[in-house]
């Protein structure tokens, strides 16, 4: 309780001021993707957040980027982020060692509808690194598994080498109360799994479309086509949630860098009902 209040104070008083966090652990997820586990240097023992939210991570002297939280909301003792090496900041972040310090602002943004989804079937559709922002919701839901109907995870990535959280996926796959289907775009004959885009898994996935909440995260093109396939199955667009990504800078809705139509992704998003975004997604030059 005290820790929660202290953390809330940190983010509420000055959202532009990064807190200091030490790198506690680094995990290599694939050739270009890694996970960092962070602990506070300022005496905060927990970092409460909701599944789907993001933080601004600051590599001192290099720059700041938004990264979704990929850890377990029920275990906020460490702050977990998974990111791919795509630019200057992530490249510098990959070079950091255990014990190095980075700045953290957050958590920011809207969350997956984990509570509202109770009683429904759940379909998670992840593309590539998009599995990372969905993982906190999966942790939270699996911790209270009996409150939900069927749970299906459909995961697509470029190749078998790009599959994230392999050990966790294997562990989850061993459960009888969670269906996991993985597909890749490119493979060689050593891969015995599915080949093809993730949207092709939707028509046969075992869920009741009239009683389903879908949570979708991945590249925008993939999310658009996923939403189309889910609607073909009969899922209501109000029950499809997507996580948007734009050039977030201030993370509190001041700077306008991430404005998308009438909303700021950092403040009103990143998680939106698809019904709210579908008309904007197909628009050019927005």
């Amino acid at each position: 309780m005290v820790e929660n209040l202290l953390t809330e104070k940190l983010t509420a008083t000055d959202p532009m001021l990064p807190g200091l966090f030490r790198i506690h652990r680094i995990l290599k997820e694939s050739y270009d993707t890694f996970t960092v586990e962070l602990v506070s240097l300022e005496g905060y023992q927990t970092f409460p957040f909701e599944a789907g939210q993001f933080n601004m991570l600051y590599v001192y002297g290099v720059g700041e980027i938004p990264v979704s939280i990929s850890g377990d909301p029920l275990h906020p003792e460490t702050l977990v982020h998974t990111t791919r090496v795509v630019g200057t900041v992530t490249r510098a972040m990959r070079e950091l060692k255990i014990g190095d310090v980075i700045g953290v602002r957050g958590p920011f943004g809207s969350a997956w509808p984990v509570q509202a989804a109770k009683g429904n079937d759940l379909v998670f559709v992840a593309g590539g690194i998009g599995l990372a922002p969905l993982r906190p919701a999966l942790y939270q839901i699996l911790a209270q598994r009996d409150r939900y109907g069927k749970i299906v995870l459909l995961y697509g990535c470029r190749s078998p080498e790009d599959i994230l959280f392999r050990k966790e996926l294997e562990k989850w796959r061993a459960r009888f109360d969670l269906e996991i289907y993985v597909t890749v775009d490119y493979a060689n004959t050593r891969w015995h799994g599915n080949v093809g885009v993730v949207t092709k898994l939707i028509p046969k996935a075992p869920f009741d479309p009239l009683n389903t909440i879908a949570m979708v995260c991945g590249p925008e093109v993939m999310m658009r086509f996923t939403a189309i396939e889910l609607q073909k199955r009969g899922v209501n667009p109000d029950n499809i949630y997507i996580s948007m990504e734009r050039n977030m800078k201030c993370a509190v809705g001041f700077c306008g860098h991430c404005q998308f139509g009438p909303t700021f992704i950092c403040k009103n998003g990143p998680v939106y009902p698809y019904s709210q975004m579908q008309n904007w997604l197909a628009m050019w030059e927005i």
């Binding site: 493979a187 004959t189 891969w191 599915n194 080949v195 590249p219």
Partner: protein, 150 residues
């Protein structure tokens, strides 16, 4: 034991097809079984059959002299495998290999081609259904070549 026509009626592909057409198609069917690693057909061979996969998983492949066999797309239970039997030059453009033990109904496309020519309503029905598969796979392939996760 279920008859072919009863099995065909339950599939997505043949759903709502007139019973008399189901009977014609079922008359061209036979059971097929493939062990993991078996090739169902190979690129360049005559295409005179198509398959309704009843159980198992089949990968469609292309051979590249430098990189070997390249898996392109996986088909599963209740999927249709093969449309080259319907279009000249009636040769397979890709190969298909069973990934796991696969049971299927093999349908004699050469026999069906003749029946479709004789009964153009049947031909049109089948053509519409195969066109839907082709469009669906074309859309999927477009996304696949975009390398959207890159």
């Amino acid at each position: 034991m279920k008859t072919f026509d009863a099995i065909l009626k339950e599939t997505r592909f043949f759903q709502d097809l007139k019973p008399e057409y189901i009977d014609i198609i079922a008359g061209c069917g036979s059971n097929a079984r493939f062990d993991p690693g078996d090739y169902i057909f190979r690129e360049g061979e005559p295409a005179n059959t198509f398959y309704l996969i009843r159980h198992g998983q089949v990968v469609i492949e292309l051979h590249d002299p430098r990189r070997g066999q390249l898996p392109i797309y996986t088909v599963h239970e209740d999927d249709i495998l093969g449309w080259s039997w319907l279009f000249p030059p009636y040769k397979w453009h890709f190969s298909a290999r069973a990934v796991s033990l696969t049971r299927a109904i093999a349908l004699d496309g050469a026999c069906l081609r003749g029946k479709c020519d004789a009964d153009t309503d049947l031909g049109y029905e089948l053509m519409k259904r195969f066109a839907a598969i082709v469009i669906d796979r074309l859309h999927a392939t477009r996304l696949q070549v975009l390398d959207i996760y890159g």
